[in-house]
Symmetry: C2
Subunit: 185 residues, 2 copies
């Protein structure tokens, strides 16, 4: 595809997934991804800080969506329920791109450098969730505990959702996982 075509970003993301799956993450360079997407390496680095970031394109949107849902949850909703509403809203985004999410998760799970980056993104989501709960008036410790718990539910639900072909929708997996967590307490 020529470099004048639209959606260079989308093409780079798709090319990266294809190349990482085919050759492995370590054996793929930013230049390979750019070439396969029909753009220059310079264009690649205008869009992404490094080749890892290509797989975390949706992280900021996911975090923003979750936090907006938390902020707009009914005022009386307890912190954990508000945080879980945020995770379910974030999950709806993933649901729209299930096939991409499944392919991506296999590559991340197989690559230590990507698992590290994923941990950092989850830590960022936990901090943002804590902050959103604080804005709703939750005390610091409750906000931190509810945020950590909600992100735990999100992560555990995610693993089930991507690894189970006939899994229910992501929001349903979040609800099921949250119920299992409450039962453990």
């Amino acid at each position: 595809m020529g470099r004048w075509e639209p959606d260079a970003r989308g093409r780079m993301i798709k090319a990266a997934l294809d190349l990482f799956a085919e050759r492995g993450f370590e054996q793929t360079t930013a230049g390979d991804i750019a070439e396969s997407a029909g753009v220059t390496e310079r264009t690649f680095f205008r869009h992404f800080a490094d080749k890892r970031e290509v797989l975390f394109d949706g992280s900021a949107t996911l975090e923003r969506t979750a936090c907006e849902a938390i902020r707009s949850a009914p005022a009386g909703l307890p912190p954990l329920d508000a945080a879980l509403a945020g995770m379910a809203a974030g999950g709806d985004l993933l649901q729209e791109r299930r096939e991409h999410a499944v392919r991506r998760s296999l590559i991340v799970a197989a690559t230590p450098a990507l698992k590290e980056r994923e941990l950092l993104k989850l830590a960022s989501m936990t901090e943002a969730t804590t902050e959103a709960l604080r804005e709703r008036g939750a005390p610091q410790r409750d906000a931190a505990l509810a945020a950590h718990s909600a992100v735990t539910v999100f992560s555990v639900a995610f693993v089930h959702w991507v690894s189970t072909p006939d899994a229910p929708g992501f929001a349903a997996c979040v609800a099921e996982t949250a119920a299992a967590l409450r039962a453990l307490m």
Copy 2:
């Protein structure tokens, strides 16, 4: 101190804490730490993979202690309680070195590269805890949820414990934080 003196490892750890606090982490090299501890750079790298690892000297012991406590907890104890017993046992180790833990935590909190490494160590503790709970017969999802929750309690209790001069012992902070988490559920 000369290089023939014992406990080179302990001296390097102390020198690193002093230098990181004085000059900052980025401005301190492995060579600086070695020099200040009276050992060669080669000796430094025989003990530590990099200058970050100096601050994570106790991580493996902490993880092992927590997992041993989980494995030896009474057979009927539910997964979350067994996991929390592990965290309290790990906390006892920290209690013995409170001053070191407090100084160390200030440096970690101020240094993104160290916060990242800390996240990885906590992820490792979560995985090891999950595995220890699996060995006790907990199903995978319950084991993962209980492990994440226990490590969350550990982290939140830790922040309280290091930042509150008159905080109760670490094990008491773990119990208090666990009660707050159960109340949120």
